[in-house]
């Protein structure tokens, strides 16, 4: 296994897609961090909004996830396209050994990309992250890391199932975007039946002739996508294992750098009591269990990959 790992890792590490992927992620990270550092300085002069515009945003996280998905497909997929997988299996390298070696190498590749994407942030913008509590930072970056592992396992599985890299790549990207789409739909279905309470105000004139604005009542917008009962419970399970939601939560948390754990709890309580955001409360309540659920989904994907690859007919 060690020999196979050494050869596989060497090929993966020195491959062009790996170098490009790492380079792009490091570049994007350093650019974001520079913006962040500049905004952080501006924040010191009272321009508070500047920071939130410069923070690692959804695009950055999406780019990281794309790199984490595409690299394993390129690497494992090429073994399938070139047929070199046959050389290994014919010579007695078991399918389990082959799959696990590739999974391990792909995870390491993705970890390198993850490191390249996050370390520059701490190098170029240490001031910004100093505002965070360590526990909060561990929670945020741990969650992103779990998502990266999930994507690595998923793309390894897909790459090992098809004979051509192009097919694996198209399917992998399709699955990723379908995941984003499904997450959006699930989120919409889980939003309470009545949402976005808005106050209806009006002008009232008192006997002295002065006019003032008063609240006349509350108006709630109905949610046409709302799903209740057992399907709602099922949708919660789906919600748990979709890394898109977790990444969104990470993104939100990155915008709350000055929040302590105590303040975080208080905010959760606020969400709970607010009629406007019960769904947000539910989401925040689950943020600690979500990485565990996604970690479990990662293990399921690994086991599923091994089983399917063992059953697969290789041409």
């Amino acid at each position: 296994m060690a020999d196979l790992f050494k050869v596989t890792f060497k090929r993966a590490f020195l491959s062009l897609p790996m170098l490009i992927g790492t380079g792009v992620c490091a570049f994007m990270s350093s650019m974001t961090s520079r913006r962040c550092a500049y905004a952080n300085a501006a924040d010191g002069f009272g321009e508070q909004d500047a920071v939130s515009f410069a923070l690692p945003d959804r695009k950055f996280l999406l780019c990281l996830m794309l790199a984490a998905a595409v690299l394993p497909v390129f690497f494992t997929g090429r073994e399938m396209t070139n047929g070199t997988v046959k050389n290994k299996l014919i010579c007695g390298v078991g399918r389990l050994r082959f799959y696990l070696t590739h999974l391990l190498v792909n995870i390491i590749m993705d970890l390198i990309v993850f490191t390249a994407a996050t370390v520059p942030m701490f190098i170029f913008c240490p001031g910004y992250f100093r505002g965070f509590q360590t526990g909060m930072l561990v929670c945020i970056f741990g969650s992103i890391l779990v998502c990266v592992l999930y994507v690595a396992a998923l793309s390894t599985l897909l790459a090992a199932m098809f004979d051509h890299t192009a097919v694996s790549l198209i399917i992998c990207l399709g699955v990723l975007f379908a995941g984003v789409f499904i997450a959006d739909k699930v989120s919409s279905a889980l939003t309470p039946p009545e949402n976005n309470y808005t106050e209806m105000t009006g002008m009232q004139t008192d006997p002295s002739g002065r006019s003032e604005e008063v609240v006349l009542g509350e108006k709630a917008e109905p949610n046409p996508d709302f799903v209740g009962g057992t399907p709602r419970k099922l949708l919660w399970s789906v919600h748990y294992i979709l890394p898109v939601r977790l990444l969104e939560d990470c993104e939100l948390m990155l915008h709350q750098r000055t929040m302590t754990v105590q303040q975080y709890r208080e905010q959760m309580q606020e969400y709970k009591e607010s009629r406007n955001a019960p769904f947000l409360y539910e989401r925040y309540r689950n943020i600690r269990t979500m990485p565990i659920a996604i970690g479990c989904a990662f293990i399921v994907l690994c086991v599923l990959g091994v089983i399917l690859f063992r059953l697969r007919n290789i041409k």
Partner: protein, 304 residues
Amino acid sequence: MEYVLKTKDLTKIYRRAKALSGVTMSIPKGSIYGLVGRNGAGKTTLMRVVCGLQSPSGGMYELYGVKYIDRGISKVRSRMGAVIEKPAIYPDLSAKANLKAQYSMLGLPCDDSIDELLELVGLADTGKKYAGKFSLGMKQRLGIAVALAGSPDFLILDEPTNGLDPEGIVEMRELILKLNRGNGITVLISSHILDELSKLATNYGFMDRGKIVKEISVEELEQNVRKCMIADVSNVRVLAAVLDEMNVKYEMISEKRAKIFEKMSVTLLAEKLSQKGCELIGLTEADESLESFFIDLIGGAKNG
């Protein structure tokens, strides 16, 4: 006799299509076993199953006496090498780097044996040229070299001469013969070019519609395809008596036809037959080849 590969009622079913339906065959150690069959007969599927790339739907096979479901099969597989369909090489590496990668994967030291292997397959002078830029013949030879890494003693080659020019075909034949005679490697080879196969194989397996229709050795095949004359007569029993008298080898095909396997005077034969009241209707020379034998056999199998 010691066998490298033995299969019994080996079956492979893809969804609804039956690619192998009860293949039973044995490959003797040290032989070059030619697998003959038309497209879709199941040759490549059989090779894939034997190589462990696909699992059989039924039946069994054993390599060096170890059943494919036994735990020791991985160890036995390390004594195998194969090139199935297209050579499995890294196009972005040189020939030497490809071999180095395979050697490292097998846990073997990358020593002079790599150069020797490149020399053996005639790729010693390719330098740093990427394998992706090789000609088809060179890729095929590199594929064989990769399969030979780890000194296997059983080599499986699926249509190794496909797409090669005449010179390449001769080189490939010489290489296979060198590996078999010089290194004692048992070879399982499939080819459409039957004439080429007949110059190599010591044993044959004829496949049709997922089955081995006939297995014969080269000696048996020679008996079947040797040069002969076909005599058409009015009474084949009289012909048999005359040929026995003349001490000539023959084989009766039908009531009016027989094969004569030795050179003889046609005038003398016609004279003797005439004396016994048998008319010699015609005498034609038949040059039976592996190709005609195969066509006769598969035609027979189809009709049967």
